[in-house]
């Protein structure tokens, strides 16, 4: 091959690669393209729910498998005054609120939650970033807790409102929250953990209560859970037309482009 031709080929190759990259970047910023790409998430969710055993348990490990270097991502210490005050008081005044589409809104102290049907499990925590850590969790099963409040027939999702603000925003959408469907809410391994590795749940891992929904990724495991709200939809709006929950996609990270269903 002559040098001229080789140069030409190289130039053409680089130009094509550049165009390809620019086109992909453009599509990523095009709302219509994103809408099409996002359809795959619904397909994945439906396919997993249809093809897999809804009651199947996540793998449980042995004490020997527990990570000594379990990472803490996201907030590691909520800075709100209310949280700091509760922490200083060892969460004596903490009350978990359960409301929304329930027959009887409830408030539980930590002592009451610790007295409820509990479960211990040694499970793998998979961060969306790609790493995994194994830890032991003990907590109150969410299902019986919800039954104490009694779900109304319209109930579809369980929303967890958290004490931490991960991003400072004017409209308050930087407040951490997450949500799951009723299949995961009533899954036997879904607990509100108050112990980690046989010790009181540390602040960096979500004290006083952290959701464990073992068949989904780490960002679904909401820390610093303050209030549980039962809803019929995640994208509902109030009278003034503002989304009631964050930006309407069911969670802090889903609002920022991550899948709501994080079983993948």
């Amino acid at each position: 091959m002559s040098t001229d031709r080789r140069h030409w080929l190289k130039g053409a190759g680089a130009a094509l690669a550049g165009l390809w990259l620019a086109a992909c970047d453009k599509l990523t910023q095009d709302p219509r393209a994103v809408r099409v790409l996002r359809r795959a998430e619904t397909l994945t969710y439906r396919a997993q729910r249809a093809a897999t055993d809804r009651r199947a348990l996540a793998r449980e490990f042995t004490v020997a498998d527990i990570s000594k270097d379990f990472r803490a991502n996201g907030s590691t210490r909520p800075d709100s005054e209310a949280y700091q005050a509760m922490l200083a008081d060892n969460f004596a005044d903490y009350r978990l609120v359960i409301d929304g589409l329930v027959e009887q809104p409830r408030r539980f102290s930590l002592g009451e939650i610790r007295a409820m049907p509990a479960r211990s499990q040694i499970t793998r925590h998979d961060c969306v970033e790609g790493w995994s850590s194994i830890g032991k969790w003990k907590g109150a099963r969410l299902g019986p807790l919800l039954d104490l409040a009694g779900l109304k027939p319209a109930a579809r999702y369980v929303v967890f409102h958290c004490a931490d603000t991960l991003e400072q925003t004017l409209d308050g959408t930087g407040q951490y929250y997450e949500s799951i469907d009723l299949i995961d809410a009533y899954h036997p391994q879904t607990i509100l953990a108050y112990e980690m590795n046989d010790a009181t749940l540390p602040v960096r891992h979500g004290a006083p209560l952290r959701l464990r929904v073992e068949r989904q990724l780490g960002y679904k495991q909401a820390k610093y859970v303050m209030r549980i709200e039962v809803v019929d939809r995640l994208d509902g709006v109030d009278e003034s037309g503002r989304t009631r929950l964050g930006r309407g996609r069911g969670g802090y990270w889903p609002d920022r482009g991550y899948e709501w269903y994080a079983g993948i």
Binding site: A17, W20, L21, C24, D25, T28, V34, V36, L37, R38, R39, A40, E41, L43, T44, Q48, A51, T52, D53, A56, L57, A58, R59, F61, D65, S67, D69, R71, R124, D126, C127, V128, E129, G130, W131, S132, S133, I134, E214, R215, Q216, L217, W253, R256, G257, Y258, E259, A262, G263, I264
Partner: protein
């Protein structure tokens, strides 16, 4: 008298051609969005959990003598990969990232968008692969074109083919009507082993899927093992494509491209002139 005549034979069926080019696009985008996802935690481990202090592969930025360097570690080895892995970008605008901007989709750091692309494309990839396999098994493409013949499996033949390949001498005439034994082995390794492994190891990183099919992840020693095998297989695909494209070019770029686009492939045959 005898002379050489060029004849056009039917080389690739329309199904092969469509699935091939769809795969080119889909696998390229899967690779790039996959590197975006890798960049969220550019380190690999074996087993079920991450042993953060001992990855078998890692890319990071390190300060050496007051200067930033991209450092890649592989096993016990350390490489300075400034500008490519760990620390890359235009001078003055360098950033910490596993793979550089030109290799990822999107080019900027955005794990959410990378996952959105990756899982959309994964469905296309699986649908395309299933279409190819179903048609290949039912229509006889796998049996007739991909499986080596008894003659091709003879050791002497295999050694001979390796020898001629090493000298860039490719089959001509009637020999060129079908894939040679090295081609068959390579293509089979890709379509029957590496590409399906990508799907399986990909699924093994899904915590929902793990709960349903817990034994599958054990084949890879756990989730971090599955993530490592996923990465290694992606590397094997890149290696295959590099060799494949190089051989396409040296063994008759135009003829090969025409065959994969129009289906027609030119071979030279000895023919008695009338």
């Amino acid at each position: 008298m005898t002379g050489k005549t060029k004849v056009l034979i039917r080389r690739h069926s329309v199904v092969t051609r469509i699935t091939h080019w769809l795969n080119v696009a889909v696998v390229s985008l899967l690779l790039m969005s996959g590197l975006q996802i890798f960049n969220a935690h550019p380190a690999l481990y074996w087993g079920a959990k991450s042993t953060f202090a001992e990855p078998w592969l890692s890319m990071s930025k390190q300060e050496i003598g007051g200067e930033a360097h991209g450092i890649t570690t592989l096993g016990g080895l350390t490489f300075d990969t400034t500008g490519v892995f760990g620390w890359s970008g235009k001078a003055g605008m360098r950033e910490v990232r596993g793979f550089p901007a030109w290799a990822t989709l999107p080019s900027w750091r955005d794990l959410g968008s990378g996952r959105m692309w990756h899982f959309f494309l994964a469905w296309l990839f699986v649908a395309n692969g299933l279409a190819y396999w179903l048609w290949g098994l039912a229509g006889g493409h796998i049996r007739k074109d991909m499986l080596p013949t008894r003659r091709q499996l003879r050791l002497s033949h295999i050694l001979h083919e390796i020898g001629t390949h090493a000298r860039f001498r490719f089959p001509k005439g009637d020999e060129a009507r079908s894939y040679n034994v090295i081609q068959k082995f390579t293509y089979l390794a890709v379509i029957a082993v590496v590409l399906p492994l990508m799907v399986v190891t990909g699924l093994c990183m899904s915590p929902g899927f793990n709960a349903t099919v817990p034994w599958l992840i054990d084949l890879f020693g756990g989730r971090q093992g599955a993530r490592s095998v996923h990465f290694i297989c992606a590397g094997l695909i890149v290696a295959f494509v590099l060799v494949h494209v190089a051989l396409v070019i040296v063994s008759g770029a135009w003829n090969n491209m025409r065959a994969m686009i129009t289906g027609k492939y030119a071979i030279e045959t000895e023919r008695e002139a009338a």
